[in-house]
Amino acid sequence: MEEFADAKEDENKKIVHTYPLVQQCDMSEEMKAETVEVIITACEKFGTDYFAAAKTVKQMLDKKYGPQWNAVVGEAFGIQITHQTNTLMYMFFGGNLGICAWKI
């Protein structure tokens, strides 16, 4: 009986979450919503081609909020950056992707 309960718990734990999860963001609400949308669009469009996704994110953000945006898309990375205030977005998406976009 206990084993059964454990198994059930495990099942519950193995749910894969794919929704966008904003980890850190100092943007205004409006900007944040748009940035998230941009990132989702790019990541969904290019699938595993993270380079293209990052490029698209960068270009679209450049277009929207002025130049010199940077974007990182990847499954595992470490970054240390200096960014303009109110332009940082660090989020997870798709359950295995970390995305960071910021403006210099």
Binding site: I15, E75, I81, T82, L97
Partner: protein
Amino acid sequence: MPPKLDQTAKKATRLSLSQPGQKKPFNKELSRRQVKIAKPVDDINGIPSNESIKPDDQLKLTEEELDEAISNVLQVTEPPELTARVSYSYRDGSFVPYKNILPFITLIDLKSTLINKTTECLTSDNDKETELEEVQGEIDHDKGDIEIDTDENVDGRVQEEVEEGESEGEGDFPNEEGDQGEGGEEMDEEKTSKPKATSDSDEEAPVVVQEDSSTNNINSSAKKRNAPKKLMNQFNFFERCALTEEIILRDKEVQTTPPTKNDFCTYTTQWIIYDAYNEDFLKQQEEKEKEKRDKIAVHASKKSASKKKKNDVTEDQTEKNMLITAKFLERIINLNTMDAIAQDFRYYEDPSDQFRGRDGTILPLWTMTYDKADNLYVTDISWSPDYFDMFAVTLGTSQGHLPLTDSPDVGYVCLWSLKNPSYPEYINQTHCGAMCLDFHRNHGFLLAVGFHDGHLAVYNVSLPTKEAQYMTDAVNTKHMACVRQVVWVKDLPDGELNFYSISEDGTVCNWLLMQSEMSKTIIVTLVLDIEPQITLGGISETLIGRGTTIAFHPENSGIYLVGTNEGYIFKCNTQWSSFFMQKFKAHEMSIYRIDYNKYDPNIYLSCSGDCTVKIWEDKSDIPLLIFDLLWSVSDALWSPFSSTVFGVITEDCDVVFYDLDADKYKNICCQPIQPESQYQLTKLAFNWRMPVIIVGSSKSTVIALKMSPNLRLIMKPPKKGKHYTTQMLELEKLHKALDSTREPDTLVVPADDDTTDS
């Protein structure tokens, strides 16, 4: 006239100012510029001017000659340069090619001493110019002629040749041209000798006349002259306010504040992402549950109200914590200030007891008063079963008090601790005088309280709330008169708590604590089998004894004794309520206490308002001993330490101890506590562990007293011989003391004595 031909590019200078009329005379001459222009034109010009003025040497021409048409062709091209021109060289004695590039020949060069007002030499000295303009204004006309003369001369010399198109602009330009010429000169001058200023200008003027300057010079000088400047000196007055400041252009650099920047550093791995998602998921679920709960709460408004109550309780919690701290502080302060008493309480043993035989003393320790209720009686005292230094008292009206006259409508239940004699640990104000109380033996926090108006309540003193856990119903269940004593008894087999109460309405009731209420069972009604003294309308009423005290048999919980206000003692059994096991008249007045001996349940004592304490043996209605204290006895209790010792308090504030073993006729200790005028003593209670008694008074004062060693002598088991327990020895002591008083027919005991003796 070769010079005339060469003159094509040359421009007129001074002539510019000359009027047409003045020009006329020159027109006659062939050497004029107008020579190039067709003669008829000349004539036409001449007609309007002055035809009469004719030089003497003018050629006289016939009309035919005059009419003869002389054609003149205007050409766009410059006259052809004379390439093959030669001049005779006297030195060489032959003709040499003439190499002068200039298309004119200087015939004569004269220096003039006159200045034209508009000449450029003035403009060069900018300041002077304006001044001169005015001054020379008059001279202009006079000079005009002179100048013209000079010009004429110059012209004559220079032999200008001007095209027809230029002739019209002649009036405008000459000035400029002349200026240019001179400007050129001036330029050179300035370049060579700048220090030369106004004074030189006059001298320069003649030089200016020379018109050999190149066209380039002319152009540059013309530009220069466009911005004349006044020289500052004594002749030139400058109004300061008219001076405009020169605008100086400067380069200025400005830096904007850079956008604020932040540092951010992180690293991402699969497991970090996974954890973050899990955490967030849990949070979301919690929020969902919260929303659900909120919905439920909104749905049931009653529940939300209850929640609020809970919040209030939590707020009280902090307050409670603070109060606890304050209580600690108070207690420590009290312990410090009353350190001597505390030491006595624990360690003082009266050394004088050794020399006093069997007599003993009592040592007053603390006096505790609840100031708020200092006019109330201490109606009952009960030691806590859990803490030996804590006891509860009830404060109410006196026992014989009639409720309708002037009874105060308040009573208190107070818990005192010996550690803090200045203020009660627990205070509960009740709706009327509290008359009696009892701690539950196993649940030390449950307190049964009886009230003056017949109500009963059970309090839980461990809860912050002061409300009674159980309270009797005013209509159905409560007693009809003052409750005099409550006693917890053993729990029922199914664990239900129950207690007995005795009231002045003559009933003994058993109270069972149910889930939410107390169920009442009337155990017995104390009917007095005596002739009614009063008959109302021929109907005789049965008299009912007003119960005042109840005592349960220590070993057989079904048997109990009841004392009444009329002095009767009833021996009853909980099983049969229809009859009494024993009923006899014990006292003449109200019985205040019946107490079983702590060692022998067959022996009990009773005290009464008729100033006597009687010791009884079970199944006998003749007392074994009678002690007359000459004052109304409020309370009497067997000592828990010795089987033969009991304490008595009287209304005149005496505490009296008797030891049957020592002396059956005289007390071993009689000590006044207070002057009787102040108050009377009402209740007595022995501590079950320490040699301390508590005495309550009519002024809500509680006095703690310490018994000296003589008052609690305990039979010690002998070290040699047969082994006897303290219990057995105490029993023996008691019986030995009582033997002599027993009636002969009850002398069954001697056998026991023999055994013990042996």
